[in-house]
Symmetry: D2
């Protein structure tokens, strides 16, 4: 059983018409329903849920994989909360960032770079190409599939070199985007996937849902190792002529 938490900013769906129609209970509840299966115990949470912005230490400690959607309220997230999320990911929690999550504090904290990209929210035709067909996140996904409309995110995508380049998207307007990428962060595994603009129907697409499902299994942490550093260690082998202190 994977303990999944879906965290959503949950602002657009309560303040704008199109998002409200597409996702009346919020993107988090929509995803919960779509992802629901026997293997996942899913909790939802959101920015103004509680004093801890829906990300209490207790919730994070009981989360194996955190799915993250955020957009226009990135700056409202407190630094200490963002840091708490990042530290928990470092400790092994999987992190799946959707759409503008790349601009969110936790994602940028974890990757170090700006994670910026150019954009155009014209709901244009988008085609997702799989560039790692043997990757578990791509299981059951065709070599390419279409999104009838999505916000364009374009290069340069200011990320470190990804571990795996799972998907690259083609846009009608002429751009490409390395929009499905994985990273390792301490003991945590990160997957970023670009679809999911609040005024687009990408989360209605079964391939998008399947990819997120696959990513949950993939990001589920393995048994934990001690990777702590910053400490003296005795030698494992006898050392001749060393200046023991």
């Amino acid at each position: 059983m994977v303990r999944v938490t879906i965290w959503n900013e949950f602002w657009h769906e309560r303040h704008e018409d199109v998002p409200a129609q597409l996702y009346p209970s919020g993107i988090h509840e929509f995803l919960r329903e779509k992802l629901s299966c026997d293997d996942f115990a899913i909790t939802t949470s959101w920015l103004d849920k509680d004093e801890e912005q829906g990300l209490s230490d207790e919730l994070l400690q009981n989360t194996d994989v955190l799915i993250w959607w955020s957009h226009c309220k990135q700056d409202v997230l407190r630094d200490d909360v963002a840091l708490r999320v990042a530290r928990r990911a470092h400790d092994g929690m999987g992190f799946i960032g959707l759409h503008s999550a790349r601009n969110g504090k936790p994602f940028r904290m974890m990757l170090g770079t700006d994670c910026s990209a150019v954009w155009r929210d014209w709901n244009e035709k988008t085609r997702v190409w799989c560039t790692s067909p043997a990757h578990p996140i791509a299981a059951g996904i065709p070599l390419s599939f279409d999104l009838e409309g999505e916000e364009m995110y374009g290069e340069h995508f200011d990320i470190p070199r990804p571990d795996d380049l799972v998907f690259v998207s083609w846009y009608a307007g002429g751009e490409i985007f390395r929009g499905g990428v994985t990273f390792t962060y301490g003991l945590g595994k990160i997957f970023y996937f670009h679809p999911g603009h609040e005024r687009c129907r990408s989360f209605y697409n079964p391939h998008v849902i399947q990819i997120i499902k696959n990513a949950i299994y993939w990001a589920n942490p393995v048994p934990k190792k001690d990777i702590s550093g910053g400490r003296f260690v005795e030698p494992l082998e006898p050392i001749a002529n060393a200046e023991r202190k």
Copy 2:
């Protein structure tokens, strides 16, 4: 001509006997002399050089490649100065981190992870193995060479997956360390190399000096591109049926 700045914390050499004997004018001046050649215009700088901790914006703007040595005064470096270094690296300046630079603020800011490792400063036998023999940073370096004594830095080395794993070190005490690694940070290229403890003679080793020289050429920025994001872009191709705003 590559404009090289060697920045040093310059504390040990003024307060401790062994470093003072090994590097009487400081590690920065020692490296300046060893690296000196017609292709490099070398400036040295240090933590208490001036109000800007030796890292003024003017100096950074005139630096192509910054060599960094720091150790026990990591916390004395101001956050704003560390950020200035990181932003300049993002903008294309090469960054070569030596020894404890991995614990320094700029390096950790750029990589996102803790960059921690275990350690043992017994001056033990260390052997540097080249795992990327075709890499320009390894040009002219044998497949392995010895350091008669060095501080051990051991795994787990908490870094993102490096672009290139150029060197892995073997220690008499039983550890290995991914001690020669490259990263990309925006337009900047980063090389980290573990030798150079203040009480060891690694900078007297011609292979170590050659590696730093090679890394300077490698990290010298290429002509700059505009990689800025966070902005709307017009489509490059006409888009049918898009919801133009």
Copy 3:
């Protein structure tokens, strides 16, 4: 249920004393017993088992993950059989190469490089370090563990850059080795792991067995995609001004 086939050269165990004592029924049967669990349906096979050198097309088609041990009879394997193995791996079968498998025809065919290394079979102390602690192949494995004696395989290891560097080994004699590495080959996933000399007890080590078990799960193929090329495709979008033929 993963259909696992363990293929062994099975020469040393029938012709040399120490291997015969360590693995009286052959390394393949020893591994079968150790790996046995409810999730795996394990078949064993060997070089002189049948006319097809124990690698009939029927067997390969019914194999999800192939474990391979070979050493002194690499040249006895027919080229057409090696090619059959490689093509099946390309089609999605996982391939786990143990010890001298790196010198075997299928492994070299798949990787392209020589896969050569230096060696010393003195049964020396070896320590396996995990350099990807979040990797599923490292699940449940400590950050390092010892092999009391193993044949040394040393750098330069002539392989392409691996996808993941999961383990690096330390040897008492002064070498290091990138001895646990993954690759992708078409739709197939490859893991190479260096322990397992015929005169050493590495397969008695529970960590080694756990790593092979983990690798079986990891290499189990995902649902297959059509990645065939070499063919014309109609455009997915209308093309203006193209020279249609």
Copy 4:
């Protein structure tokens, strides 16, 4: 001075109208002229130049970087000649494969995979996006540039995971292609770049020429190391309790 050899199949330009008009002396001579500069000593060669198919051992031994164009006569190249090219690349010679070179014997020999892709030779609008803006092969190249018409090569591109993904191309017909990729092969560095169909004008594009120039500098071999394996080595450190033979 880099000793560059440009090898061309040189069939289309002598047998077909459009190639003959675009490249009357052959693609090799066209590229020689465009790449000519003080740093390069350029030789041209072609398939029916001599008994050695223009790839004598003497020529290869005196080549630092080999540029390769081939298409419809891939099978005419003798296996022994292809192997000779691959071995010389393994020994350190840089290899720059253009367009259908990916289907040529040397390239496939070096990479191990099929190197297949789907295609459509409709001379359609193609846009080359740089995904590694700090890479030396991208020096002086804008973040994207257009090719007015090119043959589409599309995913899946059956290559191992590249070392660097320097360029990804966008096609009007809806595909993307990882069309600018680097690999390491022994001591040799490989760059593959997709433009250059015999009926297109891509080699007239100054960005394409600049990229090839950059790649020549990048692929120029560094001083050679001994990476030979398959041999016993004495230990570098004394080994206690080893079973010396």
